[in-house]
């Protein structure tokens, strides 16, 4: 509960900060402070210090997994602020509001990681989405931004409609006529009634849309491309992580017993996602857009965890979300500083900014899943969690083939930075920025060697 309430309050504070603080930098500083508080609060929450004792009437349910995800999300946001806070503030004329909206999104995320009723899921998803519509369009003069925001909004609303229809059917088919996750699944018989299957599929589709899994991903490239790069960074990492956890939580808590009946659809979606994400990324000319597709591809891997929903899956998704977010935030942070997003824009980076190039390399290697980076272990978990079930081996092989393809486009950047010579463009970056990048890459390597640092948190029980 700490996270939800605190983030809401902080949102309000940030909202008014615009009035009292004139300088962008000070607002940014305040935002960093705020996120730090939020992080601490949720860490305390995880460690058993609950400041707000609220009877949620079973609407929300807090558990280690959700808390951990919150911490990861907030930590990533902290890193994100440390790298890009000023850039956020300088998107447009109302910096305070941007930060406020981001905090509202975080509030939504902390709901999405702890909902126990479809109603809360719905509200949480909406609280995540609506501010994002705004943030996408926050660069008001920029037509790309407008277009992105319009597209995002229309399709988002559409998917909301689908989600609600699904919820309606689930409600109709649930014996007790309630929205609690526990009551949704069939009581005695292990087979889902047709109506339940219909609702479940519709819900799955809408969630697939939210996490941008193919063939419901079409908004992603355009929106990521059109939105201000800082915002893209946030959407592609923290938000995606939050919504994905909502996805896994929904299916993990509501329909684990009838897994066998919906696994196949997840498998199909994952396959299509991997294929489209990776293949389409190959031919992109702009790194920003390439990253958009790569984020789709990564989701394809994450979906494997929903496919199985076993311990390995839980541990794995935790690692995956963390590593993926960190790497992507790092890359976008660099991208934010650049004018030219094309691959050639990276030419000769290694000569001019060796530190940046090194960090970027680590991030890319991690995304590509090369050992010694967390990305490898994340992918490893995803594969392992499927292989332990003994079925869906074809999916694993397909996923790995796609991973090979992904190497192609990730390494194009590395090649540009190191092996192609060219005049690297001017980036205004301070030592702090570079230090931060190094820290992030160290985190990735650390997670690549000692994943249990993160995973073991799952099993520490606080009273």
């Amino acid at each position: 509960m700490n996270a939800i309430i605190t983030s809401a309050i902080l949102g309000v504070i940030m909202m008014f900060s615009g009035i009292f603080l004139k300088k962008n930098s000070s607002i940014a500083a305040l935002a960093i402070l705020a996120i730090l508080i939020l992080l601490i609060m949720s860490i305390l929450d995880m460690s058993g210090y609950h400041f707000f004792q609220v009877d949620t009437h079973n609407m929300l349910e807090f558990e280690a997994f959700g808390h951990l995800i919150n911490c990861i999300a907030f930590a990533c946001t902290l890193a994100y602020f440390l790298l890009n806070a000023r850039d956020i503030a300088s998107i447009g004329n109302n910096p305070g509001e941007y930060f406020a909206l981001i905090f509202f999104v975080l509030c939504g995320i902390s709901i999405a990681t702890s909902f126990n009723s479809l109603l809360m899921l719905f509200i949480g998803i909406e609280i995540i989405s609506i501010p994002l519509y705004i943030l996408t369009g926050s660069d008001k003069r920029n037509l790309k931004s407008n277009e992105a925001s319009l597209k995002y909004f229309l399709m988002g609303a559409f998917s909301t409609g689908i989600m609600l229809l699904g919820i309606a059917f689930l409600y109709g088919s649930s014996a007790k006529g309630s929205f609690f996750l526990d009551d949704l699944a069939p009581v005695k018989s292990a087979t889902a009634s047709p109506m339940m299957m219909t609702g479940l599929l519709l819900l799955m589709i809408s969630m697939a849309f939210k996490v941008s899994a193919a063939p419901f991903h079409f908004w992603t490239p355009d929106v990521y491309d059109g939105a201000p790069t800082v915002i893209t960074s946030f959407m592609a990492t923290v938000v995606k992580a939050g919504t994905f956890i909502a996805f896994i939580r929904l299916f993990g808590n509501a329909f684990p017993d009838i897994k066998s009946q919906w696994q196949i659809y997840i498998a199909i979606i994952a396959t299509v996602t991997l294929f489209i994400g990776n293949i389409t990324a190959v031919f992109q000319q702009s790194v920003k857009r390439m990253l958009a597709y790569s984020s789709i591809a990564q989701v394809g891997f994450m979906l494997l965890s929903i496919l199985t929903l076993n311990t390995l899956a839980k541990e794995g998704i935790l690692l995956y979300v963390a590593v993926y977010s960190v790497a992507t935030i790092g890359l976008f942070a660099i991208l934010v500083k650049m004018k030219d997003f094309s691959f050639d824009g990276f030419n000769g980076m290694a000569k001019r900014y060796p530190v940046v190039a090194f960090a970027a390399t680590i991030f890319l290697l991690s995304l590509a899943g090369i050992p010694l980076t967390g990305g490898f272990l994340a992918k490893y978990y995803m594969i392992a969690t499927v292989m332990v079930t003994g079925s869906y081996l074809w999916l694993v092989i397909f996923a790995l083939l796609c991973a090979t393809v992904s190497v192609y486009y990730y390494f194009r950047v590395i090649q540009a930075m190191y092996f192609k010579d060219g005049l690297a463009q001017e980036l205004e970056i301070g030592p702090g920025f570079q230090l931060m990048l190094i820290l992030l890459s160290l985190v990735i390597i650390l997670l690549g060697i000692f994943p249990q640092l993160l995973i073991n948190r799952l099993y520490i029980i606080y009273i």
Partner: protein, 629 residues
């Protein structure tokens, strides 16, 4: 004494190392001295060993230096075997070797110091490997020497490496040897597989237990090796080209020692051959074919060394004939005599070439009799010996082989005698054209025709003497009981007559007579034909075929070399570049292409996107409807 046998190869090795490492620094005289003295040293040691070995009741000694290979149950010691056979070869190699080193000291004078040193270091290395070959107490050590001498012959043929043709000759020699060696190797693998050992005694003891089929296979493979090394059909063509090397090299390697390695090896493994009659027949017939073919080619050659080369080939054929009919002692005997007279002939040729300042074509010689008396005389001795005129050494050895051949199969004998006749003919054609008649060379050549220095002539003389009297080492039992010292000496190893058939004395006399008479008549015919008007024009008809070596080289080129290259090109151009690489790159291109196509799904229009989403939804539901059934 025989426990110090390792000294024998050690000396040449030392010589090799000294000459090899300090080739830049040491002067010519010294390197020549080192080279020859080392061989002399090992000759002395071998002589000592010989006298110990020839005592009655001498048991073969095995001297093990160290464990060479041992893996699993297979152990291969690096050890030497001292017995009459190896001792005899030791003497031949070191003895003749020494003479030829001596000869080289004079012959190679013109070379500059480093090359001079290089020459002697190669030569010493050769002797080292040759000794390894004959001393080895198992097939692997034998094989080490076997390939080693091949290497040295390769290096020495290509000694004047600036000349591409010489390099080609060298390469040809090595590769043709390699072909044979592969056969040898496979035989060794088979033996290991069967007997789990490679040492002679073990194998020969266990041999009777093996099936005839297996033994036939192994012996044939060994024989393949022998044909490579000893220049028999089908692998003989490298030897004539090998004349590219310096003449002493031809004398030592390509006449006296290396080419007889095959005979040694088969004689060594005679136990196996006795158990595999089929292989014996093959050996004999190959020998016969080689005799005739080489002899015929020799008739029409005009390069003095080429003639000798082909005669070597055909003489080797006699030895294989001997081996084939189970007359191992005789074969080895012929190796001995042949070593004498063929080395002699080559050295004479060398002396002639030296005198003619590099000229090798006999059509530009003639009448050298009065310019080079010593050379002429010794050469004549050699010719008589090789033509099998009594009482010269060649007569005895060749005759014993022929007799044994008759015992096996009269046809062998007839062909053999025919070969002998041709031999006599071309040898005296060579003799007459070179030494008789009047000089046909240029003025310049005639101007400084001169007898060679003593370092060259002394070996000639020594060898000439050996060529003349050498035969008395193995006088047939026919003349006097126990007169055949050699067979008596080798008896412990080769077991007397092997399985050669006994034939009545009267027949033997008759055969001897026939062959002798025919040989002499051919000699006279050749002399009368060529002394006045040597054939200088281009040969025609069948003669042309003979002159062009029956186009065997061209045949090989067309049958093996060209197709192989074509295949290689096909692999390189088509399979590698187009097929495999094309496949790999094709996958990449496919991905690129599909990427370019998939992009168009991203039309940028909300309507399109929603439509696709709806379609996706519909499809999922369709799947679900199907699964529900």
């Amino acid at each position: 004494m025989s426990n110090y046998v390792y000294l024998v190869p050690l000396f040449p090795l030392i010589g090799f190392l000294i000459n090899g490492l300090f080739r830049k620094s040491i002067p010519k005289s010294l390197s020549g001295l080192i080279g020859s003295s080392m061989i002399l040293a090992s000759f002395v040691v071998s002589a000592g060993i010989f006298f110990q070995v020839k005592q009655e009741g001498f048991q073969p000694v095995i001297v093990t230096l160290f464990q060479f290979i041992h893996a699993d149950k297979l152990t291969i010691p690096f050890s030497f075997l001292v017995d009459p056979l190896s001792t005899l070869f030791l003497l031949i190699i070191t003895g003749v070797g020494f003479l030829i080193h001596l000869y080289s000291v004079g012959y190679m004078k013109e070379e500059n110091a480093p090359d001079y040193a290089k020459y002697f270091c190669y030569l010493n290395l050769f002797v080292f490997f040759m000794l390894l070959l004959v001393l080895g107490s198992n097939y692997v050590i034998l094989f080490i020497g076997w390939e080693g001498v091949g290497l040295c012959s390769h290096l020495l043929i290509g000694y004047w490496f600036k000349n591409i043709d010489y390099d080609n000759a060298a390469k040809k020699a090595f590769i043709m040897n390699r072909i044979g060696d592969v056969g040898f190797l496979i035989a060794i693998f088979a033996l290991i597989f069967k007997f789990n050992s490679v040492s002679f005694d073990t194998i020969f003891h266990a041999a009777p237990t093996a099936t005839t089929g297996f033994l036939t296979a192994v012996t044939l493979l060994l024989f393949l090796g022998a044909t490579g090394k000893s220049a028999q059909i089908p692998l003989y063509t490298w030897l004539p080209d090998a004349m590219a090397g310096p003449t002493p090299v031809s004398a030592l390697i390509h006449a006296a020692t290396m080419v007889t390695a095959g005979i040694y090896m088969i004689a060594r493994s005679h136990v196996l051959y006795n158990l595999a009659p089929v292989s014996q027949t093959v050996v004999a017939i190959t020998g016969l074919a080689t005799i005739i073919l080489a002899a015929l080619i020799a008739v029409k050659q005009n390069d003095i060394k080429k003639v000798l080369a082909y005669s070597t080939v055909s003489q080797l054929g006699y030895m294989f004939l001997g081996l084939g009919v189970g007359a191992y002692t005789e074969a080895v005997f012929h190796v001995l005599t042949h070593a004498f007279f063929k080395a002699l002939l080559f050295l004479c040729a060398g002396s002639v070439i030296h005198a003619m300042s590099g000229e090798q074509d006999i059509r530009n010689m003639g009448g050298l009799k009065k310019y080079l008396p010593i050379t002429h005389f010794t050469f004549l001795m050699g010719c008589l010996a090789i033509s099998g005129i009594p009482p010269f050494s060649g007569f005895f050895s060749k005759d014993e082989i022929l007799t044994a051949a008759y015992g096996k199969n009269p046809v062998y004998f007839i062909v053999g005698v025919a070969g002998a006749m041709i031999t006599a003919f071309y040898m005296f054609r060579l003799y007459a054209t070179t030494f008789l008649g009047n000089f046909r060379g240029t003025e310049k050549q005639q101007h400084h025709l001169h007898e060679s220095p003593s370092t060259i002539t002394i070996p000639l003389v020594v060898l000439a003497i050996l060529a003349v009297v050498g035969g008395f080492l193995g006088v047939p039992e026919l003349f006097a009981k126990n007169s055949n010292l050699l067979s008596h000496f080798l008896n412990p190893v080769l077991g007397g007559e092997g399985n050669a058939a006994e034939i009545p004395a009267s027949t033997e006399w008759m055969l001897m007579g026939i062959s002798t008479i025919l040989a002499i008549s051919m000699v006279l015919y050749a002399l009368s034909k060529f002394r006045k008007k040597p054939e200088l024009g281009e040969p025609v008809g069948f003669g042309k075929w003979m002159a062009d070596k029956f186009y065997v080289d061209e045949l090989y080129d067309a049958l093996i070399v060209k197709p192989l290259n074509a295949l290689a090109d096909f692999f390189n151009q088509v399979i590698e570049k187009k097929l495999i690489d094309g496949l790999v790159n094709g996958t990449g291109r496919l991905v690129q292409y599909s990427s370019r196509q998939l992009r168009y799904l991203q039309s940028g229009q909300v309507g399109g996107y929603v439509l696709l989403m709806v379609i996706g939804t519909v499809l999922l539901f369709v799947v679900q409807l199907f699964l529900r059934k």
